[in-house]
Subunit: 242 residues, 2 copies
């Protein structure tokens, strides 16, 4: 029986039960993974995650579009910010966009080291991702980006939603208390996810960055039928064979 495990923080990754050969699902619901799903769903060809500002600036000089903000402001050399709604632009369709996210890039690299495939998951692509994973039936490690290495509610709720689908509807099992807890948090929250996550500390901290429109988009389930997968350092849409 394939296994699913949830890792609540990059700082707990070294202690995981699944050691290698798994597929990793990386999540950062506020905002990177939601924005990446939105971008690919809206027709962007690839999202290239980069950690540093310098790297983002170099890409810009080579002609790439760059999504980059710090403290809620789009940086002067960049074309757009990091919010999901920043990607809803006709002129970006078919383009490769560089996405500057220090924490997100670190987490993707961490997961890539031991896994067969790295997917990006968020509430917005929950069932598209589930349909894809269900076909592969490989072990799954869900890695939460967290906030400064701390547990956060929004990534946990997504993890619980996905683990619940895998266990109840795809024959997965878990030996991991994090997955069990995440599922128990998801089950009552699923009836009103946007209501439940209003208490998330990261939403409160991000208030000046996360507009109400972005918040409702990020906590809405299944608005995207797209599964971002890492290939040669780029996140592209997994082909629809599910």
């Amino acid at each position: 029986m394939p296994k699913v495990e949830v890792c609540f923080s990059p700082a707990l990754y070294d202690y995981r039960l699944l050691k290698s050969g798994f597929d990793a699902v990386v999540t950062d619901v506020f905002r990177a993974s939601t924005s990446i799903c939105a971008a690919l769903h809206y027709g962007i060809e690839a999202v290239i995650p980069v950690a540093g500002l310098e790297e983002a600036r170099e890409y810009r000089q080579s002609g790439y579009k760059v999504a980059c903000e710090r403290g809620g402001s789009v940086l002067d050399f960049a074309d757009l910010g990091n919010s999901p709604s920043d990607f809803f632009r006709e002129d970006l369709k078919g383009a490769k966009v560089v996405f500057s996210t220090t924490n997100g890039t670190k987490v993707i690299q961490l997961a890539a080291g031991n896994s067969q495939k790295v997917y990006v998951g968020a509430l917005v692509n929950l069932n598209a991702l589930f349909a894809c994973l269900k076909q592969r039936k490989n072990d799954i490690l869900i890695l939460c980006a967290g906030w400064k290495n701390l547990f956060n509610l929004e990534d946990t709720i997504f993890s619980g939603a996905l683990a619940h689908l895998l266990i109840d509807h795809a024959g997965y099992e878990t030996e991991c208390d994090s997955a069990k807890a995440a599922i128990d948090l998801w089950k009552p929250a699923r009836h009103d996810v946007s209501g439940y996550l209003r208490k998330a500390s990261h939403r409160i901290r991000l208030k000046h960055l996360l507009t109400e429109e972005d918040y409702l988009y990020s906590t809405g389930v299944d608005s995207c039928r797209v599964v971002p997968v890492l290939k040669n350092g780029e996140l592209i849409a997994e082909s629809h064979n599910y």
Copy 2:
């Protein structure tokens, strides 16, 4: 307003929000913290936590009683094992007992470095501990011992129970998603804690060590009116001024 924070693993301790001056509550429901509460409740004068077997053996040679087991067997030089029921012995009343627990000792030392006081908490002393903390009104960090640095359900349920009491009945607040999640797990579980924790992975792993009697004792709320506090390397009962 005093704050409460929950830390799900020793590996997350460095990333906590409360930096110093807090009171720490260390918990390891299966079994160390429950056994320590049981010991002091039953009349043992002090429990001395030690990390290594060698240190435990040296204490034994100086005349101390020693609680020490590995893999479920009491070691040849020791007087008793590490289960709560091992401490229910008339001949131990008034004695100081050395308790060998590698992980427990590490967690206590970790918490002691930055805190004003270190308490030991478990479901069995939930309300006695709450009554004591409510009087002090200091910031509280609840540090879960976890299992091999991983999140576990039983320490989380206890953390949620204590955080819930502090916030709803003692004017505490929290900015910590771990505390919010722990409370949301506790609230439905509290009506049948022993039933809920049967799925805890650590209980399943510990099956050969944790008898049904010990399991029911560890998941029973408020059987002990004792609050272990660390003083000069020994855990003693906090005097009853609450």
